[in-house]
């Protein structure tokens, strides 16, 4: 165990350095905590309203759908490169994959997730 002691020292020195520099900068650094200084930075313009507003669920749906189809295309690239080596089995597997995907796609269309109005 004793041979691991330098690693422990290294952790202590690393943590000590962080604590030391944070304390020293807080003691040495000049500060001016006026009301304007502590306001939210909005490029110098007065901030309007609250940033924590509920967003439409459509943003989330679009983002998730984008990620899903993005991943599908990413899977298709290596498959296309190795198309000949993978042969018929690879082709059927990819069809199955796309098939599952399309089932999900029809499901969200039926549910009306892509109806904007």
């Amino acid at each position: 165990m004793i041979e691991y002691l330098p690693i422990l020292f290294m952790f202590v020195v690393a943590a000590g350095f962080v604590v030391f520099t944070m304390v020293v900068t807080h003691l040495l650094g000049p500060k001016r905590k006026s009301k304007i200084k502590l306001e939210t930075f909005e490029c110098g313009i007065e901030s309007q309203g609250n940033a924590r507003l509920p967003f439409s669920i459509k943003y989330f749906l679009v983002a998730i759908l984008f990620v899903l189809f993005d991943v599908e295309v990413i899977f298709m690239y290596p498959w296309a490169v190795n198309f000949k080596q993978l042969g018929l089995a690879g082709l059927l597997e990819m069809f199955a994959f796309i098939g599952f995907f399309l089932i999900g796609f029809f499901y969200i269309i039926k549910k009306g997730a892509l109806k904007w109005e």
Partner: protein
Amino acid sequence: MSTIPVDISPAYEPAGYGGEGFFATSLDKVVGLARKNSLWPLPFATSCCGIEFMSTMSATYDFARFGAERLSFSPRQADLLMVMGTISKKLAPVLRQVYEQMAEPKWVLCMGACASSGGIFDTYSVLQGIDRIIPVDVYVPGCAPRPEQVLDGIMQIQKLAESESIRRRDSLEYKQMLSRYGIE
């Protein structure tokens, strides 16, 4: 293309007492050295001086060799406010708010005739010099100033940063100076 005659030196150790494996100097000098060589500018570029600044940042003039590599587009991490261009009266409160939201210690470089004095825009809508609303440390004259002039201005700011006492920003004098501009 000719070489640029700017007197540039690497960051040498400050005056102090040194020997075999140790070096001692005052805290002021160490802090000054660090501040001088790690200025983070906030470019407040509103017109053509900003274009000259872009050329200052690019490879030929290489602003980054002064330690000002990282431009900050938020006042929170910036040390140096570089006002470049015409400031209209409508923009004045914005500039002032940006200045006030910068962390201490902060310096202001005023680039070009418009920012310094309103320049040719002696009209009702243009602020006749940003020193009417915020304190300015260095003025760079010109319309627009060449990158060499901007670099000279930066080196003047570096001299200020290097020689400034670490107590200056807490001093009564400094607070009075700010209160003349109506800044808390």
